[in-house]
C-alpha cells in the first residue's frame, strides 16, 4: 500500500513535470522544423553554451556579457521594489488601521492601480531626466500596489480578539505593532511582496527595452536588432527562470513565517 502511494507521488511530482517539459521541447522542435525561422532546441542549446561560457565579458558600456545585463536588471528591480516595499508596507499598515485614511485614498488607488506600467515612464523621464532612475520609478510605481492592498487587507483582518488582548493589557503602540499587528498580518504582507516582485520583474524587461543602457530587456532588444534569434529565445528562458526563482524564494520565505 505504502509503496503504491510512493509510486503515485513519484508519478505526480517527477514524471509529470518531465513529461510537460518534454512536450514543450517537442512542440518547439516541430515549430522550428516547419517555420524555418525559429532555431531548434539543439541550436539554441549550443548557442547557450557559447553565451554562458563568457557571460561576464565587458567591451565598453554598450557591449557587455549577458550576465552583467541580468545583474543590472536585478539591481534596478531591487532598488525599485525595495523602495516600493519601504513605502508600500507602512502605508498599507496605516490604511488598515485608519479607516478614514483608507476611505480617503481608496479612489486614488483605484484610479492609479490599473494603469499600465509603461505609461508611467514619461513621468519618470520628465522628473528625473535620466533613463535609469525612470526605469526604477516605473518598477516602484507598478509594484507598490499589491503591497499596499495586501498589507491593508491583512491588517484589517487581524482578529478583534488579538487586538482586545493588546487593549486589555494596554500595550504600547510599538508593542501592539510588533507583538500583535505585524505577526498577525505577516502572511498577507508576504503575499503582497510576492505578487509585487512578480510585477517588478515583468515590468523591468519592458522598461529596459524603451530606456536602453544595460539590462536584460535591453539585451533582448539588442539581439533582435542583431537578428540573433537563439539569443532572444535564451533571454526569454532566462527571464522566466529568474522570475520563477524570485517568486519561489519569496514563497519559501512566506512559508517560514506563516
Amino acid at each position: 500500500m505504502k509503496e503504491r502511494k510512493g509510486q503515485k507521488e513519484l508519478l505526480l511530482n517527477i514524471l509529470a513535470p518531465c513529461l510537460g517539459l518534454a512536450g514543450f521541447l517537442l512542440l518547439w522542435t516541430l515549430l522550428a522544423k516547419e517555420g524555418g525561422r525559429l532555431p531548434t532546441p539543439s541550436v539554441t542549446f549550443e548557442a547557450a553554451l557559447q553565451l554562458f561560457a563568457k557571460a561576464f565579458y565587458q567591451n565598453g558600456p554598450n557591449d557587455q556579457g549577458v550576465g552583467w545585463n541580468l545583474l543590472a536588471s536585478l539591481q534596478r528591480v531591487a532598488l525599485g521594489f525595495g523602495l516600493a516595499a519601504v513605502v508600500g508596507i507602512p502605508l498599507g499598515f496605516l490604511l488598515g488601521r485608519v479607516p478614514f485614511l483608507a476611505r480617503a485614498l481608496s479612489p486614488v488607488i483605484s484610479l492609479l492601480r490599473p494603469v499600465s506600467p509603461l505609461a508611467w515612464l514619461p513621468i519618470g523621464l520628465l522628473v528625473f531626466k535620466a533613463a535609469n532612475p525612470a526605469a526604477i520609478w516605473v518598477i516602484f510605481i507598478s509594484s507598490i500596489w499589491p503591497m499596499i492592498i495586501n498589507t491593508a487587507a491583512g491588517v484589517e483582518q487581524v482578529p478583534k480578539d488579538y487586538l482586545n488582548v493588546a487593549r486589555v493589557l494596554q500595550l504600547s503602540p510599538w508593542k501592539t505593532f510588533t507583538k500583535v499587528l505585524l505577526p498577525a498580518a505577516l502572511p498577507h504582507v508576504l503575499t503582497g511582496v510576492r505578487l509585487s516582485i512578480g510585477v517588478a520583474w515583468l515590468v523591468i524587461v519592458a522598461a529596459e527595452m524603451l530606456t536602453g543602457g544595460v539590462g536584460i530587456g535591453f539585451w533582448l532588444w539588442d539581439e533582435w536588432n542583431n537578428l540573433n534569434v537563439p539569443h532572444i529565445l535564451l533571454a526569454i528562458l532566462l527571464i522566466g527562470a529568474v522570475g520563477y526563482a524570485l517568486e519561489f524564494a519569496l514563497l519559501k520565505l512566506g512559508r517560514r513565517f506563516a
Binding site: Y162, N164, V168
Partner: protein, 277 residues
Amino acid sequence: MDTLLAPVHGRLIKQTHSIVVDKVRKVFATKNGDFLALRDISLSIRQGEFVSLIGHSGCGKSTLLNLIAGLDTCSAGNIICSGREVRGPGPDRGVVFQNHSLLPWLTCYQNIYLAVERVFGATESKAQCRARSLAALALVKLSEAAEKFPHEISGGMKQRVGIARALAIEPQVLLLDEPFGALDALTRASLQDELMRIVAASKCTVVMVTHDLDEAVLLADTVVMMRVGNADMPGAVIARTLAIDLPRPRERLALADQASYHALRKEILDFLYGEHQ
C-alpha cells in the same frame, strides 16, 4: 446594593465595594436604528466576591462584562472599579476571553510574559518577570507546556494559559467571559475546580459570565440573573440576585447530596425556564 451612595467621578466610594455599576445603559447603533442592550443596570460587588452573571444568550451579560473590562463604553451611567471610574481597559482587571485569545505566534510562556512585562517591567528586573510568568504557569499546572505554542496544546490547556495570563498581572478583579463554554464536560469540571482553588488563593474579585447554572451555583457567592428585554420594555435588566451561601471549600460530589444546593439550583432553573421568560 441599597446602601450604595451616588458615585462621584474618580472618588473612592466604599472601600468594601470592588465594583460598582451605577444605572448603566448601553445602546448599540445598528442599521435598524438604536438597539438598547442594557437598561439601567445597577450592581455592586464586594471585594473578593465571586459573581456569576447568568441568563439566556443575548441577555447582555457579555456586554456588561465588556463594560466593566473597559472594552466598551457605557451610553449612560458609570462603573467604578477599585475606586476609580472605568474609562478604558486596564491591568487592574484581568480578562479571560471566551476563546482563550492566546497569540498563536507566541509560546505559552511568551504569551504570559507579554502581560507580565507590561505590568511589572518598569519596576522589576527581567529575572523577576520571568519568575512571575513561570509561577503563573505553575499555578495552572502547565509548567511543562511553557515552550509549546497554543496550537500544540488542547483547548482546556489553552484556556488555562488564558487564566494564567490574566492572573499573572495580579489583577484586583478577574473577568471571565464564558471561559469554559467551548470545553467538554469533564475538562470543564476540572477547570472549575482549579479556578475555585486559584481564586481562593488569590482572593481577587471575580465576575464570570456563564449560561451553565451548575457552574454558577458551584463557583459563585452571588448569582446575578439577567433578563432579555422585550417589545414593551426593551433592554436587558437584572431580574434578581441570589446569594449562594454554601460553605467553602465546595466539593461538587458533596454538593450533589445537599438539599440547599438543589434548592438554589431550582431557583435559577425556575428563573431561566419559568414564567419570567
